[in-house]
Symmetry: C5
Subunit: 340 residues, 5 copies
């Protein structure tokens, strides 16, 4: 998973680790100090990891007392978005997405979250954009952050879901552009038609990938919203409902774009068949306008001893004129029947 962003190589696996009390940052912690901090009442610990090695993750597991299976998931990455309840903690897998500028392809990362009564652990995999903004935003609104780690989970989900919006909007825009290309096909060349078809396919592939990332997110969010998931304070639920709404909107847009692309491809095929008919007619018309004079010329190229016209003084010119007239008659006829 080597990526081209050189300046990420210096990133330490522990992005930030701190205890929060009453909505404010109480103390920065090292991994070793976590267990002690957890035992203090009225404060919670928030640690952010970036592609940690297994040894670090095991250390973190020990500090927070996390479940084996969840840790294994966090090591493997390549999970689908899901929410799992363990006795005393909630494990959430989210997928992040971004469009790589250089290739235009979508790339997906993952963020795993362990949520407990008084801690939240986030593990980020393969995502170029750090979540530092989330922490800053949370620290800027202490009255909300005071709700505890459940609010941090909301802030993180909101942040991640918001990353999908520009991607989906860009696709909506591209679909609209493609519509123009497809429906005005006749003026553009075949190269444009080929490219449009390829673009339609690639957009569809992106939408299929996006759907796989976004659709299960709705389920995760719905469970956070409705069921009795522990460590999510009741006051935070309307916020999750808000995130849920955004996810549903993304999903609806993805589905609508997919349907439009399918229709666009069908319309494209239909238009190209029309174009084929049109070309065939036009080609035929011009071919006839060449074939008829050729036939006349062939007739007067025959070597019969007795072809009176050949001896006429203006026979040649009459032949030329008759060729022209025949071609013109064909031209007019084809024009009338709209073959030209």
């Amino acid at each position: 998973m080597d990526r081209e962003v050189g300046d990420l190589s210096q990133v330490t696996p522990v992005i930030d680790c701190a205890a929060y009390a009453g909505g404010s940052r109480a103390a920065a912690l090292t991994v070793d100090q976590i267990q002690a901090a957890l035992s203090c009442d009225g404060q919670f610990v928030w640690i952010g990891l970036y592609e940690p090695e297994q040894s670090l993750l095991r250390q973190v597991q020990q500090q927070f007392g996390l479940h084996d299976l969840a840790i294994e998931d966090a090591i493997n990455a390549h999970q689908r978005p899901k929410l799992e309840l363990y006795e005393d903690s909630v494990f959430v897998v989210l997928r992040t997405a971004q469009r790589v500028a250089s290739t235009g392809r979508l790339e997906f990362g993952e963020t795993h979250v362990f949520l407990g009564r008084n801690y939240i652990v986030t593990v980020r995999h393969g995502s170029l954009r750090s979540h530092v903004g989330v922490r800053q935003r949370c620290e800027a609104t202490p009255q909300l952050l005071a709700q505890g780690p459940g609010y941090v989970l909301y802030a993180l989900m909101d942040f991640i879901v918001d990353q999908y919006l520009p991607i989906v909007m860009q696709i909506e825009e591209e679909v609209q552009n493609l519509e123009g290309v497809v429906l005005d096909d006749s003026t553009a060349g075949d190269a444009a038609a080929t490219e449009a078809t390829a673009r339609i396919y690639l957009l569809k592939r992106d939408l299929v990938s996006l759907r796989r990332a976004v659709a299960p997110l709705a389920d995760v969010c719905n469970r956070l919203l409705r069921f009795d998931i522990p460590h999510i304070p009741a006051d935070t639920r309307p916020y999750f409902r808000d995130v849920y709404d955004h996810i549903i909107r993304l999903n609806e847009s993805i589905d609508a774009q997919r349907e439009l692309l399918t229709s666009a491809l069908e319309a494209h095929l239909s238009l190209m068949t029309v174009a084929q008919n049109e070309h065939m007619k036009r080609i035929t018309a011009w071919a006839a306008m060449i074939a008829v004079p050729t036939m006349i010329a062939g007739i007067y190229g025959m070597n019969f001893a007795n072809i009176p016209e050949l001896q006429w003084k203006y026979g040649y010119y009459i032949a030329l004129v008759s060729m022209l007239v025949a071609s013109l008659a064909l031209y007019v006829g084809f024009k009338r029947s709209r073959w030209l």
Copy 2:
């Protein structure tokens, strides 16, 4: 979101604001007077806003004590139709639609409604048609308006849903017209076929957009109808059921038109392939009728010293006649096998 309707620029953000008691307009209010009016028993406040600035919205929020998240939604617009319950109020997002006469494209607006025990706030975004008619209609039936703000919500939904009807009916009509064009394809030219294909696609796109606006509306209406949504008096429920029926009808029509358009496109493609076969056969037949005389002419254009026919007195005429006979024979043959 600049639109071409110049006379809307003078519209004030507060369209109307009044207190109602016993179904009749009791007093016009300024925004500052709302809180006082709300404290009077037996009356409710109805305020209508049009694309208000954030400051005005915050002022209104304060007067009615509305929830932060709902207000943020109302500022952002671009919501999907939804119903959200807050402790003491209901927040409803509806989408309005109209066909812009100049471009023929659909344009969607939004109307947000805050419904409380004794108030209703409507916030209109990007809709060209004002809701003034709703207020007039409500004030004209005081016995119904006396049911309170729940009835106003019904009147508004009914008004908005009724806006979709002419749009969907126009599309139904266009689909019927397109059927005619598509099925009588052979007589129309390729230009007509191209246009029909484009029209099919564009109608489908409109239907996809409409569905996104109408389908969640059914859900909103269903919740207003069945569940224990506060502030909706029981007497009003049959009215919401009526609106619900209209929405279902719209939905069914939208789905039926989508299916018909898909079939029309397939039939179109099929018919054009038939037409292609037909053209190919006809072209071939005519080509053969030119090629055979050309071949005969070629034969008698050969320079062999000894070609007896060339010396015949009527050789030339015999050749011409045989060309004609060959072409005629081909013509008859092709006619019989229906290539012509």
Copy 3:
């Protein structure tokens, strides 16, 4: 909605109105006498209306005490099949269908039913076939009619659902005929192919319309069958289950025909592409058999001073024979590779 059936113009809006006691017709009534009749114990009133004017409908509403919204629905027509419960009555909308003989198109009517404890009101819109048969059949089985107005509703639904059966069966037959035309495409001409395509589309349109009329009927019938709908005696439920079964069968047939038509259209397109390939090959073969002799003729039409063959005594005949041989060789070759 002007129709061609002249003799319907004399139809009075009140088809029949009578009180029934113990399963037998007790007395014919005028609209004014209804309220009095309703107050007699042990009898029920059955009135049948045909496209009544609003004034008559309002009069009927008053006599039976019907709900405003239901009456408005009955005036507007253009409802979808539905069942609505009001406090003391049930309102049912059914759609009727018939194929207009002259045009072959489907036409839909509506029948609205108000069902109360001791009355049933039927309002028929735009249906050519009267429901008189229903009344006769009911009066012929007094022991069943004694079950009250609920049984009349069953008889009416049974009658209406039975109208769909011949329509759907006719479509099944047409689909089978079309299969024959489509799969034996090669022998039929392009005109037949064009017509088959158009027929497929039109049948599909009919099926889409039928589905919109029949599918919600299943829901209506299911509610009559299962839920505690008032005024439906328990003994009548098995009869509604029977109607329900018929509706499900209609639905399944409609869906199966739709799927078959979609496949037929795809197979049709496929077969026409095969035919196109076949024609192209055959055309090419014949073109080659003309082009090669033409080329040979061209060669011996060259004016070189020294072309020895031209001076041969039988040169011309040798040339002709070689043309023939070339053409024959091509013919045999094409036959072998199945291009001919």
Copy 4:
């Protein structure tokens, strides 16, 4: 519904009628003796009918006290598979299928079952295969037959569902054969392609019919399995679960084959378009190889007084060679660009 199987004409409508006690055949009965037999404790009556006349069916109805509606269903045949509960009996409709050897078409029959506490009545319609085997198999396992008529119903359903298996497996095989034909399209001729398309369509039609017969069967079986259907002893339930599994497998196979056939048709169309492109290129290449020599011949067939080449001693041969060279060059060029 006249069928070609002559030896069925002698079949009597009452196939067999007997009382069973403790799993063994106690006595053969005539229809008149049934009522008496039913009154004996500890035994049940099993009667098998084949396309009975209405009078016989009415007689049977009287003996067992069956419900009117069920009897009417049994007379009409043409029911969909269903299970209906009456007060004291269960009415089950099953569909049987067989492939008619002579035409290869599927033909469907029906078997209706009335199941009571101490009786089972089976009515077979239009099925070529008798159910005699079922009775023999049941009588051969008295310990199971002792479970009563519920076990007989299981044995019958198992027998009927097993009839579908070879049909579905034969279709699976045919689909696999068709895959071969479709994917190796290029070597086979157009006739094969046409036939493959027709076969695909016909198989799909068969699958649509099969699905209509099998899918509701799953529902019937599920109800027998799970709900409190009377007269089905608890011990028999695992057996019905087994039948249910078979039905689900049939359904899954039918759906999978349908999807494969759809894909096969699409792949077929795609392959034929590739073939068309290929042919077009090859035809063009050969056409060019004829057209260029013809053009050269035309040039030297011109009658200009001064064409020096015409006087060259070897001009003719040089012309011939240049024609050949041109054609060869074209040949090589087309080969290289893979048009040949």
Copy 5:
């Protein structure tokens, strides 16, 4: 079901049979000793069979007291994945898959599991890979194996589900490769296009088969996870949830690939139609560039007595040049309109 793997022929039907106590292997058993071992408290028996003969299976049935129907299923194989509860045991059918290296085709096997309070019986059919690894892995983690036979079932399911992963990933890779071939169609030849189409179809067929094997597995796993299935200790449930997650991922990937392949086929067809148009244009252009000189040559091949140009000294050269100019003009024209 003869397979090419010779060294499997020596495999004995009883792979391994042992008693386990406290997570450790207590004793190897013969089939006859099983019943005795089952009567010892605190230990369970695990026997693995490979395609056992009926007699052996009956012997095993007797030892464990298994249900008749389940044993019949285990003999027949060809079951779909399912879970069935019997009074004192659970019967699970799983399907295994592997890609046969020599043919590239998928081959499916089956593993049947009987799970009781203190025993687990596995019966493997037609699977090339033995489950020996499962036993080794279990024996290596005694603390987990001490949870009893329920944990063994988990280990087995995990092992089998993990077999699907490389298959699905390989298909994902192939789909990506095919995308490249399809979208860069123009450069590849028709042979590549034909092969790509066939590959798309075959991959789709594989996905349909895979889905039939994997989708019901989700249901099986879900029941093990949620409902009160006996003999599954509560501690094992998170592990089954993990397996469930993997199955869902497989399913989502299978569905996504199917959708992509459908789109790829449509895009392919579209691109080939574009290519056809392009070829047709190019062919036409070159044909015109040959036809026009041929026509000019024909004109000057006419034998009119009076064609002044024929007597010009440089007439021939002028004719040649005019031919060239005409062709060049056409060339430039076609280039400009992008036909070349």
